[in-house]
């Protein structure tokens, strides 16, 4: 596709500006909470990551998305190989061995692998002509998700591993689930969830338990939830202003520029700023949904649905955690959280989906 007038006309500027708005929110929040501290270098790096992410976005936009889906097997195999490599040579950050060194910077391949898994699963499910999936397809699709997921679990990064579940669930539903399979899934869930609970580490169990009673252990697990709620609540309607959030500035809020960046934003920008950002997230979600509906073919629909499910899962878990509704999990807020892997992966996903949207009329 040529970059011509038609390309520019079909480009969804509202969607793109919403993404830039979210990324800008992230930059502002990171700037406010890190300047003048030992974390100061985060802002400059985030700008660089944003540039890289935008380049990736444009590149993925440029080529026909069928190119990606047709050759996805290559990306998938290299992705799995990369995850295996991480297990061998990876770096450990916060108990998770999910990082590798890339040009002096830590990089988390699992973030990008998620996008690859979406495209791979979409491609596989789209090859069926039937209205729903048979057992073989369902199991094969499950394996496509399960292999990288198990590797991520082995890295110890349970939060990222969980994000594979909504991808599989959403694509299965869209591709068509038979009633008896739904029952099987529910049954399996009923069995797996208690078993999984027992396999959780103590700190992970604590995190879940303290959602229900955050004051239980204020210095350890519930402490973070309490401090996050204080940060958000004390922002009130208009917020405390740039660099005025005491919770973030004085270190009461944990991971104020990464996992709890939404709380930092809510503290300094108040209800007005928070609702505005929430609105941007919803806008992007609706754009993704529209892209899925209007996609030219099944693979396009499935890719958009997969990206939507992953993206919305991240937003729900991260904001829900910051507002004290969900357990603390190291799941980044798309476009906003400081960190290159998440930012690039998020823009990459959006690039493919906008690609699908822009090519909806082309045969």
């Amino acid at each position: 596709m040529k970059v011509n007038r038609r390309f520019l006309l079909s480009f969804d500027w509202v969607w793109f500006l919403a993404l830039l708005g979210l990324a800008g929110t992230g930059l502002l929040a990171i700037w406010s909470t890190t300047v003048g501290t030992s974390l100061e270098s985060y802002l400059g790096r985030q700008v660089v990551y944003l540039c890289v992410a935008l380049v990736a976005f444009l590149i993925l936009l440029y080529f026909d998305y069928h190119l990606y889906s047709d050759y996805i097997i290559l990306a998938y195999v290299s992705g799995v190989a990369l995850l295996t490599l991480v297990l061998v040579i990876g770096r450990t950050v916060h108990n998770n061995k999910s990082w590798i060194n890339l040009g002096g910077r830590a990089f988390q391949p699992s973030e990008l692998v998620k996008i690859v898994v979406i495209v791979a699963l979409a491609k596989y499910f789209s090859e069926s002509d039937r209205e729903d999936l048979d057992l073989r397809e369902l199991v094969t699709g499950g394996l496509i998700v399960l292999v990288p997921m198990v590797l991520v679990i082995l890295q110890g990064d349970l939060g990222t591993a969980v994000t594979f579940v909504p991808i599989y669930a959403a694509l299965s539903v869209i591709a068509g689930l038979r009633r008896k399979h739904i029952l099987v899934f529910l049954l399996a869930g009923a069995l797996v969830i208690p078993a999984g609970w027992m396999m959780l580490k103590d700190y992970q169990k604590n995190r879940i338990q303290t959602v229900f009673d955050p004051s239980n252990d204020p210095r350890h697990v519930g402490y973070q939830t309490i401090q996050s709620k204080i940060a958000v609540g004390s922002g009130r309607f208009l917020g405390k202003g740039f660099r005025q959030g005491s919770q973030g500035q004085l270190g009461f809020l944990p991971a104020r520029h990464t996992d709890f960046v939404f709380a930092s934003w809510a503290e300094e920008r108040g209800f007005a700023g928070s609702v505005a950002v929430l609105g941007l997230f919803i806008l992007v979600a609706l754009r993704l949904l529209r892209a899925a509906r209007e996609a030219k073919d099944k693979v396009g629909t499935l890719i958009c649905a997969g990206v939507l499910s992953l993206y919305w899962f991240h937003v729900t878990i991260n904001v829900g955690m910051a507002l004290g509704l969900l357990p603390i999990a190291g799941i980044p807020l798309p476009f906003v959280t400081a960190g290159g892997s998440s930012l690039i992966s998020s823009f990459a996903g959006m690039g493919i989906c906008m690609n699908i949207r822009m090519r909806r009329y082309i045969n």
């Binding site: 609540g233 004085l250 270190g251 928070s274």
Partner: protein, 616 residues
Amino acid sequence: MNLQADSSKQLIQQRLNLFYVPIIAVGALLAVRLWQLQILSGAEYTLLAEKNRIRTIQVVAPRGTITDRNGIPLVENRPSFNILLYRESVTNTDETAAFVTARLGISQEDFSAILSRSKALPVYHPIVIKEDVGIDDISVVEAHKQEHPELQVDREPRRLYRYGQVGAHVVGYVSEVSGDELAKGTFPGARVGSLVGKFGVERTYNDKLTGDDGSRVVLVDSLGREVGLLEEVDSVIGDNLQLTLDLELQTTAQSLLEGKVGAIVAMDPGNGEILALASSPSFDPNNFSTRISPEAWNQLVNDPDRPLQNRAIQNAYPPGSIFKVIMAEAGLDEGLVDDNTRVFCRGSAFFYNREFHCSAKQGHGSVGIEDAIARSCNIFFYELGRRLGISRIAEHAQALGLGTKTGIDLPGERSGLMPSPEWKQRTRGVKWYVGETISVSIGQGAVTTTPIQMLRAIACIASGGRLTTPHVLLRAEGVKDESQFRTEQSALIDPEAMSTIRAGMWQSVNNWGTGHSAAIPGLDICGKTGTVQVIGAERKKELDGNLPALEDHSWFVGFASRDTPEIAVAAFIEHGGKGGITAAPLAREVFRVYFARKQSPVLITKAAPAGSGGRP
């Protein structure tokens, strides 16, 4: 095929509609939650955020100082340092515990005990884990400020009782306010951990002595490290007090009681100012000024001699023959006896078919009232008691302040007991026996008095009928009229009766009466001895008269000089033996020191030992 593809496409569109559910539901849920946190509970969370970052550090105000009547400091403050634990800043309890045990010498058990004791306190409330620390502990805490921001050194003024045991029962002591007292609001303004006056002047005038605490409002980070000072309010020292005590006299009184159990009180009979008030055994109030582990406390509480008791006001004893002074006043005032009344003493007499004995077995012969006081003749007062009857005795004794608290400005005063037929009927449900009146006439039986009560009654007689309220506060800073702290009472006593009693008491000391060992040549000391039988004489013989617990109580109450009384002294020694032998010389020593300084120094050197006195 195309049709099928179309229907399949339609199905997929329908399935895609499912996505609206999580998008709208989650979006709405998060928006509502934001509304709830930021709008509905915004004020509440703002407060919590403020509390997070602002730490108010109380600066304890020093208490007012206490001096004697001449301005000599008795109680001051000294700087001291405590180590505080800010529990909200503890990140790892085990690490803190390990550090505290290894570097500050607090045992693991003590530390756990302190922690569990403070569980009920809000977590932002710092707790004292070690008090009155030295430079070593301070250095340890300061040097590890970065790793252990939860530990901080705090300055606190501490009470310094300059003379330790001397006057301890008057100045009292401070210690940590109890949970009970906090709940009852006994000490307004006191917080958990506050040191408050628990005894003596420290207790009575706690409100005046307590200063206004200051505070420092500081900005802290999440580790509790100070990052800025927002506000500072200086503490204001409490009001200073000047007592009526005379340090020299107090020291004398205290040393006279060394090794004895009892009390010595000296008072200005004209106005009730207490010049000395000593109780023995005593204690060192400096031992109370720390909060934790007062082993000394248990020792004091469990001491059978009860050193914490102020025997001058908190113990009531039978007055013994001192009571005869009250009897004389009653008899003279009622007109039942006069200077010409004489009673013949054979050493014993029958009243209501029972034989009562005099102190002198061979008898005093024919005695008038002055003689009867001077030689402490029981028979005279038995007869007087018979004539008066218990009601009139009680009436006069009560008019002189017996059976009621004197109102001295020290806590815990006892009222003693002046029995009457009504009292006996009420409390024991038994009729009064007239024989009891005879016992009461010489201060035995149910009548009990505190040393301060007897001193006050005698001072009233000495001063010609003025019943003052004994008090230890001379001046309080910021107070114009200290008499607002006491209720002045008065008793109308016949002046003629007074002079007869004074003459009797003068003879007791100066004319070979029972009080002669209180005599100082050149001084007109008046006095009366008392010897209280703890058990009856026969029974004592049966048991073995040498047991110290069975020894008589020893009393002496007197004043000087006869015509211009300026000091009244009461001495009481538990199981001290005869009043004239044990208590009288103690009182004499107090008189000596008082007048030695006041009058001529020559007197001191000329002071004669007991027994060689007598009027020239």
